[in-house]
Amino acid sequence: MDALSKLQILADAAKYDVSCSSSGSNRSNKKDGLGNANTAGICHSWSDDGRCISLLKILMSNYCIYDCAYCVNRISNDLPRATFTPKEIVDITINFYKRNYIEGLFLSSAVVKSPNHTMEMFLNVVKTLREEENFNGYIHIKAIPGADKTLIDSVGKYVDRMSINIELPTDEGLKMLAPDKNHKDILNPMREIKNEIVKYKEEKKAFRSTPKYVPAGQTTQLIIGATKDSDYRIINLAENLYKGYELKRVYYSAFIPVSQNPLLPTYEKPPLLRENRLYQADWLLRFYGFKADELLDNSNQNFDLLLDPKCDWALRNIHHFPVEINKVDYNMLLRVPGIGVKSALRIASSRRFGKVTFDDLKKMGVVLKRAKYFITCDGKYFGIKSMDSSLIKKNIIGMDESLYSKQLSLFDLNGGILGGERISLSV
């Protein structure tokens, strides 16, 4: 089979992995070398689904020994199979990179023969790229659960990012849909990689020349809607992963039915709006100082699809509002619906020069149609007469109800707001 046919099959097989980020590493070029990494990441194109293309995202092989019900590459699925040789991957990566098509390589694979065998194939590719081709662009590799620690560590010395996909948020889900996997096997290597990263950072303090180890950190992916797991369980898991495993990102992927398995739910369309709400909540956890328990709880386990999670939180905690824009501290500014990190920073730095007016807020990028119910500007309030949360909710949702429902349907039809690199969310 020629490289072109393999690329068709193995790009098709890799596309359901959402991650495509090339950020977080500052690897620099070497003498006679090719490439470097850009800390902010660079998008090189956008595909028809509106997702950013930053890396050459392919599977090494889609011959899998496992039979996970949610996965397109499961052994029982009848589809064309292919395996790249390491040489082919190296050649395509280098030539794409020189033409500035990509920031680097994101290599994943079905489990071929055994986890160790698959990891050894990865090692072969990354070693060739770094040592023979002197390639210093971005490399993201999947760590295969069940592979030996020494193999994972050897790969870690060459790459910028490693990830292990948890896929199903709970062990029960895994038992039902992926009988060959369990959470322990997934979380163990994640913890080991984290420990190695911590060790590297310590050594780096003592010896500047310490070779890099996964400088852009770890990520993982959760499939949304293949099992009955609630949003509350999902964001709790995410919170634990950020805290306990120091993950850089948790990606959420709306389940796209790839088989007729009776254990799987049937959707006409992937649950993209739910995926969007989870991304918004994830942002709130990472950049807005929220805790999972503030956003949802046992009596309230799923996000309101009509309202973004921050608005929802603010309405349930209406006694904190309205806040005075010119006085309130930065952490509380971040909690006002319609104010993002950028506009909060702008407000905080501008306040030193004089009073910030309602008009200024608009020009700073604050979404006033949400924010106005929760703020005062120099004592003046621009919302409705009462601070009754159900009335405000009605106003926010009903403000332009026809428009809102139109947006929802567009959303369902056209897909979410997910890009690999640049995700803009206004929460």
Binding site: A11, S45, W46, R99, Y101
Partner: protein, 260 residues
Amino acid sequence: MEKELVYLYDGSFEGLLTCVYEIYYRKDDPKKIIPKECNRFSLIEEYIQIDTDTEKFKKVYESIERKISREFLRTVFYIYLSEEEDSGIIILDYIRTGYKFGRDVLNYQTNPHVRAANEVYRRVSYERHRYLGLLRFKMLEGGVLYATIEPDHNIISMLGGHFSQRMSSEYWIIHDVKRNIAVFYNKEQWIIRSLNESIDLRFDENEQSYQELWKTYYKHISIPNRKNLRQKRAYMPTRYWKHLVEEGVQNNGFNKTNLD
């Protein structure tokens, strides 16, 4: 009727800052500061032509650096590169505000002049960042990599710096076909030269097959159930497609013998 004052300069950054020097010195309040080649004469305007003076340029440059900040100076340079019609006057107002508030002025987001300057700055830096990804090299016979661009703003010098680090052991040319200038890199340093003749391009024998591989990848990495062309165009406006291998079908280099 009093005429509106217009300052004309030679189009260089040095010339622009020389204007700023003269305006301060003469206590003028011009309505426009524009490159003289962009000027269309009008009866209600009065023109002052400024010759570039390196000494005066240096005075303004160094005083901004000292009294405001390097970051501020960089913003001024980006606004100059925007080549937008009112960029001269935006720079003048911005510098005036800068001298008034000093180092802190970058944080003064509610000031209209700071805001106007930041908006232009953002457009230029956003386009620069976009092109770091959207630029496409094609390999010519002999291994030289060649790219064509048509940016809104004059960002080619900023691309030169990026690629001289990333592609330090390749020969490459980035050609701004809108402004007829190009960056040439010879594995040691890069220079900007004017380049207006159409070049006869002969491609490396493998160029087409890598383009085919890329187009195939591009098609297959998209998830059909999530198709969202509106979002794609929001991130990657169609004006950039012409020079993309994956979208610019008409212009992949193989249907034409030379460039427009």
